[in-house]
Symmetry: D2
Subunit: 242 residues, 4 copies
């Protein structure tokens, strides 16, 4: 049997503790809902980690045992320690996949990997988003229809200040008049990165069947392969006679 | 003084001859309106060419004297001769710029350069399009606001079957619920290509100030440079001793 | 058990019939050697097809039963019928993978998908090529070392007139002083395309273990997924009230 | 007359002060040689700045007056203050161009913009580099031949751990058997970035005519345009009735 893909679902887990409304939507936390979705697929071995655990739950050991990390954060981006960001970045460069969700666009983690401000337009107005598949041949859209809808979502709109993605997989249409590159892939080092827009904390979006399918597809796509380990940094002799 | 950029505005020029309504919108033809916009800028030297001229107005001489070619076609794509398409393709590979407008997405010319079907979703329903600037650092959006609107346009929607563009410059929002990569750049050979969505024949879109600015910016951006001429195809000796 | 990936290995099969030297290197044909490499992997179901079969062995039925097509041609590019090229192009757009090998760079098939001349520098001088892995996180380099060598190969050198690839996976170093993007990926429609430089007919390159590994990895990578089927081309009603 | 492009040539200026051999090659400093090359072109207004000046010579005022910044550093990367890196990053996102030269690949500045390790293979062996033009239509290669040579250069080789560039403009061939993406473009925010490999401190490379032409072309290409200023970050009202 093929080896399982080890996914660590990370979340700051604060809104759910402070707001009864959000706790009602996500009684097991946002990470709990994302993990529950992934656990229905036997190819994954799923753990969770949260901000207030020691080392944010992202110890060297935890990361060494992680193939793909998902990241949800919002109100406490600044509390994430820089040394943990550096540690995760190193693992991504070595090949660990990263899935950044919704407000994670403004996390230290995503900014570190992108090199840009990652700013965007936004609005909380309970409006409809329709996500259009732009790259129907991409593994991340396996099993999806040509588009799907979220009846209520926070608006995220262009200009989204990110580097040109490897692939724009989804473009979102918002009822209030905006558009957004709602699903984008990047490569950094050996690591594959997917940014996915849905997931405002006041809506039960991580229970949505299409959203769950996308996250599961992305976790499979982002799992590291078996490419060469590059020893870089030391001087090396010529391969041809000089 | 810097040399002028020689732009040839090509159009099939059929709708305007057959439909009084369209002739009223474009009394000088669609090509006439596009050319008039470009002529207000002293950096351009502007000519026009149309389908029913000998060799569609795209003789070897005409192409040799063209830095940037704009292309509008719709009802007569099939009447464009394959040998002319091949001739234009060769010039693009040598460095001539190409700006493909609106229904030109389905022309032999664009399909030849893309290698895909170039199909898309569409609807004629007099609906609003809002074009969002996605790459504010691109020369094609110089002088533009963060977005601009067309009160009535034909809807073109994703999935647009094109190769991944070098840059997605605009994304269009349509009132009927669709999105579109309304401005995209490509490189083929030494030639720079820009696809721009606006321009349905039943609306006076090529008189719109923002649309004209984009086309002028694109013509400057697509003008050929002075890069090396590559002599490829013949066997050549080694540069190092073997 | 997962379904097998159905690979059709296509070759023009002419050099082997006309030159005893080449027939000695490839007694089962170039296609035979490529197919033999793939057959060692139980995930593949492998067939071959050649130029002189009816419809070049690429009937509608054969293509419908193909997940990934590999293409080797050289001296008879012009004999491939345009309608077969169009048929294969349509299948690629629908999702079939395409692996273009060596001199296939100048085939009608590759040119059709690229839109460029696909010309390059070249030389037959029995020189060494060293292929460097540029994207160690790409599935196509699974199980490879940081570089591998071919003791004798035809030189293919830049400028290679292709559109900017999605990924440059290998860059080749040639002893005579040239470099080449020896492994490149593209997406066209739903289809994934890989161009791989090694394979001159006068050397036993398709028996090389690293070359075989790359082709097998590419065949897995290029196999179609289960993304949405896009019905494009017909007018469609709005999704929102206008 | 068109406005001049204001270029600030930044260098750490340490090797030249400590090593008489290097001071002999670059009596005005590496920055002095780069600036001298740019000053021959009347389109540029050129200043220099170095590490040991207050705020490394990169004050808010200096950056506000800079259209394009060139960056050379090597032995003192760690001495560059993080707040200055953050300040420069902000200006790049706003549109300032950045040209990173040679060992600047390992600077905090370049790593910040890339998000990767920017590590590579290397060797000091006085070996020949031949730089091949890969994108002959790119403005950065205007006026260049198909390739040019540096008789002695430090070897930089793949795997170069950078994100997939927007364009690979040059690929370098090294006599010792390595290859390198020696000229690469990126976009970050509104800023255009060019990485260019040549320039080891022990060779007079910034006096080479082709190298100077490339840097001048890059400075023109990287100069900011007049695209829209994006006000991002604050909540905004819908543009359509919800």
């Amino acid at each position: 049997m093929a080896q399982k893909i080890r996914v660590t679902v990370w979340s700051e887990f604060r809104h759910e503790k402070r707001s009864p409304e959000i706790a009602k939507i996500y009684p097991e936390g946002i990470h709990g809902a994302i993990a529950a979705g992934l656990k229905t697929d036997p190819r994954f071995e799923v753990r969770t980690a949260t901000l207030d655990e020691p080392e944010h739950g992202l110890t060297q050991k935890a990361l060494a045992d992680t193939d793909v990390l998902t990241w949800w954060g919002h109100m406490a981006h600044d509390e994430v320690k820089d040394e943990i960001i550096t540690r995760v970045q190193q693992r991504i460069i070595e090949g660990m996949g990263l899935i950044v969700l919704h407000s994670g666009h403004y996390s230290k983690m995503f900014k570190r990997m992108m090199g840009t401000s990652c700013a965007l337009r936004w609005r909380e107005a309970n409006e409809k988003e329709r996500l259009w598949v732009v790259e129907p041949g991409h593994p991340i859209v396996d099993g999806l229809p040509p588009y799907f809808e979220l009846p209520r979502e926070e608006m995220y709109g262009e200009r989204f200040d990110i580097p040109n993605p490897d692939a724009v997989v989804f473009i979102g249409w918002f009822a209030g008049g905006n558009v957004f590159r709602s699903g984008c892939t990047f490569t950094r080092g050996k690591g594959r990165i997917f940014y996915f827009q849905p997931g405002h904390e006041t809506y039960p979006i991580y229970f949505d069947a299409n959203v769950r399918k996308v996250i599961a597809n992305a976790a499979r796509w982002a799992a590291p392969g078996d490419g060469p380990v590059m020893k870089l940094g030391d001087s090396e002799p010529p391969l041809e006679k000089l």
